[in-house]
Symmetry: C2
Subunit: 680 residues, 2 copies
């Protein structure tokens, strides 16, 4: 299959017309080819869709969903006129596979003129994607809702474009997953990688081993019917569902019901943090372990129809193996050198079980070992080098390093990560063809059903573009503009990545008026990477409420980014751009005055008290920025004492406060430094 | 039943402790008796509930719903400790009726101390209400979420506390009704009056007469299963569901499938506005009409278990009767004087059919006629006099005059309407006992599933308080403060009365940043009463999108009300209250500068172009107010020409623009007049 796909990609490459050469359309991911036309297609109440030939029943449902979303976006209750020609004509040459296959044709062509639209595709999978493109094209204009005239020819750059969602550390209910699947479909992602078991909970009903959820889930798990329903929901939207059962490590939740699987001595409780929390690991030396896994995987292989089966395999620290004399004896008896060899032995046994059930085994990059067959797939999370190394050795791979949404990076940082860059850039074409795509990852230490959407969206759209669009689509300002447009449509789809923040701020405040609180929340971001894991505060309590300001704010502050842009524009103008200075002053004034308005509220609620210093910092930064502008305007050199004092204030403002960062401190520091330097 | 209820009310009256004498708790409706205690009950993760005795299974579900809502409000994932005593102990002496009865005991007692809470009630209906009170008591404090120590003894003033929702003019789906039932339960309303048929659509599946929806619903109707599901949902929340089938007028939708019922000649189409739209009316002279109604009512009486059955009866204009010689002959032959007598004849026949199906007939006040038995119930919509008149004649009645939510009145105006005031105040106690309560009414000319919540909430809570709380609970500032607190909780319940506005504004703008647009939307209200029905614009198109700014804004502007309060405070201080003046200036400055920010956006989208003059008016008003304050501050008398000009500007600003009213024009006019007068 991979050889065929390379041929297709090579054939299509010369026809790419890149996004940068086109006027901006709010499309994300940017299609492979966009040719603008003249005029626009007005979307009126008589808008209608016809599927002309070759369609399957699921396509009719897709069209209904499309029309419902178009109605939500535009507020138009559609009333097609009987007998009139359909506005949008759809034709798919073929239906789809009952179980979506990797590499199934996803291409489509969409032509819009001022009198109608045509969407054609080899399979109905392409139609699904093309309809999402149409939805993104519809915008409000001076004359009505309209889609611009355009010819789009589109297909994905990578065949595997996924999002991993961890539902073990915090359980995420089916309805929340469904709205996220809607979001994934909107940006043409095609794999939900469902991280279903970990130390903190086992989330899938097993009829063969009922104690897995009976003792290992705190009562929070999916029934098999719910899983089948979710898989069907995803399939309708062109999304495969790959399950992950993380073994032999990250498996503490299995051991509550089945302690005989473990390498240590029980009894076990579900992981609540604390020392040694990742130590429990399966015992690969007992035949009973494999008998258990044979039965379990046979059951799960039937439940999950996807061809791929993820076995985890990450972060086995080996402590229980080191501490268990029988296991050490097994290692010696079998001529193994170390625990890595033991895990490779486990993975070999596991791979045979997975293959016996007609599945292809996928695992995190720790599973890479020459003893494993080349059919497995390696998911790289520790760096791009391991992806390239796997490809060199003949293994197919997926990139997730650089796509961890839980690290709270700005979208631009994820966007800059390309599966074919760095070490992969030096691979041969054949080796490169083994890089199937990538997956964003939403690990669930710090999310609940309430705030998970805002941790995934809209940043996930930028990663989706990286995986779908031509490699040279890299313009960051364009990305942000288009991501913000898509973000609005995602809320109309039902995602709550914007609206949940206001609800959470209202909860913290206990009041209807949260203007001042929002001013503060607008300019902060959570600390990055694993900075929130503060060992001094003790282990993470996975059952504690996540209701602090850090839990409500966006991972990336649009307001701060926009303010920073203004400051750069102002500096580049030689402090002469007066309209920009007025905007900067207006913003700084709001911040300077904000603490006086916000302070009383912060003292009144236990959830906001920790934010008092942060609020004071924002006002101090606002004050410093305004004074700096005054000096610049007057052409005066400020006293050194003033500069020293302001830099100290800003240094304080830049420190982590209530686990958040004040993102406007740095540009204000620039203003202060410029004002002090400009006349020396 | 009525005699008993009077006795209960009289017995309880002396124990009332009114709201005004108590420190403010954010309760709505205010309970009959509130005795504050010392301390507070902290709501922690170990919060738990126990139902001790006498409970029915539905009560367990109610407790689960209560806990889910408490978790949404607080963001706390509850984890009760095994074996620990429950935080909240619940005891109901008895279960409930399978079909909720008018007058079923709804009282409860709730005692909260710093160590726990007790909720007791004669029936589980009281428990349902008491749990809602508990939810309202929980607030965020400096030490955590907590309910204050308190002893509450509560029961309703009126037994019938309803909300009528019209689902004919615009169809409202089941899920939207369900979230509104949640809202009704939160404020202890106990009747959903479901206006199911009208000229614009017939919304209930009839198996006996399938053409009612087959031809008269545009495909938008409820199946009988959906109706049973909704009734069960309402019952779980202590809410009766009374159906209304409006006849003999407002019945055009019946005639598409069954033209033989009508007094005129068909063929009929569903009402889309236009001349004569209310003319079609049933033919009361044919026996076949009654045969039809006998079968239909028998079917519906089984589907709707409530003891009351609403037959409408309003606004029969008689034109078709006048124009039909056979009907005129019938009137003469039966010795009737006029069309009113004919409708009374129809109602008498109808009442016998309704009674045969063991239901009590309810109708709008036009049905009041001495020929009808005293068992019927009259719902007064044309004035309080008709309610009193009915009571005097021995008829029971409900008040809806003054409670029409679709008229866009401020909450305070609804709140001031009391069923026992005006003509009813002069009734004898026995006559007064016939006034069972009232119903708010949401007629659906201008609502969609998207914006209906904001037309009903939070103002409906003020009406709910009028119908539940002691008559002397009338303090308007207290009402607004409590209504705003309840409004937050309603959003946590799932209502979208606040969040939908932002979504709609984003749609109109097509952009992520709607700050300036929101500034404008914050200070306008829709035109009042029936002013939006502009005959010059032609008939209402019930299928047109409702996506203009008037459709998004709140019926009542909190910002404008608050601004008006500030201006009154400032004036009363003799223009000396500087902090208040600063707040006024800050607001006026935002408005003055807003049009410059907003104007470009307004020109870019067809939905906002009509708001250009309104935006200019807001800036002009801001400018006028700031200048007036300058004159006041300097102690200068402005030139007459200035005053004349400003008053003209404000007069323009006060006119209807894009079907909206700028609610801050009047207080700014005050400032202008004061500044001009103060030194003359």
């Amino acid at each position: 299959m991979r050889t065929l796909l390379v041929a297709v990609a090579t054939f299509l490459l010369p026809t790419f017309i890149t996004a940068q050469s086109q006027p901006q359309l709010n499309l994300m991911p940017m299609p492979a080819s966009v040719q603008p036309g003249a005029g626009q297609l007005l979307i009126t109440q008589s808008f209608s869709v016809a599927v002309t030939r070759g369609h399957d029943a699921s396509l009719d449902e897709e069209v209904q969903r499309f029309q419902a979303q178009l109605a939500r976006q535009t507020g138009i209750p559609f009333r097609p006129k009987a007998g009139a020609a359909a506005t949008l004509q759809i034709h798919a040459d073929h239906g789809r596979q009952a179980v979506q296959k990797l590499g199934e044709d996803e291409s489509y062509e969409l032509t819009i003129t001022d009198s109608g639209a045509n969407l054609t595709a080899p399979t109905s999978l392409g139609i699904i994607h093309g309809l999402q493109t149409f939805l993104q094209l519809v915008e409000i204009t001076p004359t009505g809702f309209a889609a611009p005239a355009v010819i789009i020819k589109d297909q994905p750059r990578f065949l595997w474009r996924g999002t991993m969602i961890d539902v073990s550390r915090h359980f995420i209910p089916i309805d929340v997953l469904k709205r996220n699947l809607d979001g994934m479909a909107a940006v043409k992602l095609n794999v939900l990688h469902w991280h279903l078991s970990d130390d903190q909970g086992f989330r899938v009903e097993s009829k063969v081993f009922p104690k897995l959820t009976g003792m290992g889930s705190d009562g929070m798990f999916y029934t098999q019917n719910e899983i089948r329903d979710l898989i069907a929901y995803a399939h309708d939207r062109g999304i495969r569902v790959m399950p992950e059962f993380d073994i032999p490590g990250h498996s503490r939740s299995w051991f509550l019901g089945y302690p005989e699987l473990s390498s240590g001595s029980g009894p076990y409780t579900l992981e609540r943090g604390g020392p040694g929390y990742v130590d429990p690991v399966m015992d690969p030396t007992r035949e009973s372990t494999y008998k258990f896994l044979e039965k379990f995987i046979a059951e799960m292989a039937k439940l999950f129809p996807d061809a791929y089966f993820h076995i985890g395999g990450d972060e086995v620290n080996g402590k229980q193996w080191d501490a268990n004399p029988k296991i050490q004896a097994f290692i010696q008896a079998h001529g193994m050198k170390n625990n890595q060899d033991l895990q490779a032995y486990f993975n070999q046994r596991l791979q045979k079980i997975v293959a016996k059930n007609h599945k292809i085994m996928v695992g995190w990059d720790e599973i890479l070992h020459p003893d494993l067959p080349k059919t497995i797939i390696v998911q790289s999370w520790r760096g791009q080098a391991s992806l390239a190394a796997a490809a060199k050795q003949g293994y197919s791979g997926l990139l997730s390093f650089g796509y961890y949404l839980d690290l709270m990076w700005p979208a631009a940082r994820h966007y800059a990560v390309d599966p074919m860059a760095d070490a992969a850039a030096n691979l041969t074409p054949e080796e490169q063809s083994r890089i199937l795509g990538g997956e964003s990852c939403q690990w669930a230490e710090w999310v609940t059903p309430e705030n998970i959407d805002s941790h995934i969206w809209p940043r996930n759209a930028a990663i989706a573009e990286r995986l779908w669009s031509p490699q040279n689509v890299t313009d960051v300002p364009s990305m942000y503009a288009r991501m913000n447009a898509v973000s609005l449509n995602l809320e109309f789809l039902g995602l709550t990545h914007r609206s949940a923040r206001l609800r959470m701020l209202h909860r913290m405040a206990g009041t209807a008026d949260i203007t001042a609180l929002r001013n503060l929340a607008d300019v902060v971001e959570p600390v990055k990477d694993y900075e929130r894991w503060d060992d001094a505060k003790g282990p993470i309590d996975f059952h504690a409420p996540l209701t602090r300001m850090i839990d409500a704010v966006y991972p990336e502050s649009d307001v701060a980014r926009h303010f920073n842009d203004l400051v750069q524009t102002f500096i580049q103008s030689g402090y002469k751009d007066q309209p920009t200075e007025m905007q900067i002053r207006s913003q700084l004034t709001t911040w300077r005055d904000n603490d006086a308005r916000l302070h009383p509220l912060l003292t009144q609620t236990f959830l906001l008290q920790e934010d008092l210093p942060l609020s004071q910092s924002l006002s101090a930064v606002g004050q410093a920025g305004l004074q700096a502008l005054d000096y610049l305007d007057k052409g005066q050199t400020p006293p050194d004492s003033w500069k020293t004092q302001q830099i100290a204030v800003i240094a304080q403002a830049k420190t982590r406060q209530a686990d958040m960062l004040l993102m406007v401190a740095a540009p204000v520091q620039q203003l202060v430094e410029m004002s002090a330097a400009s006349h020396n």
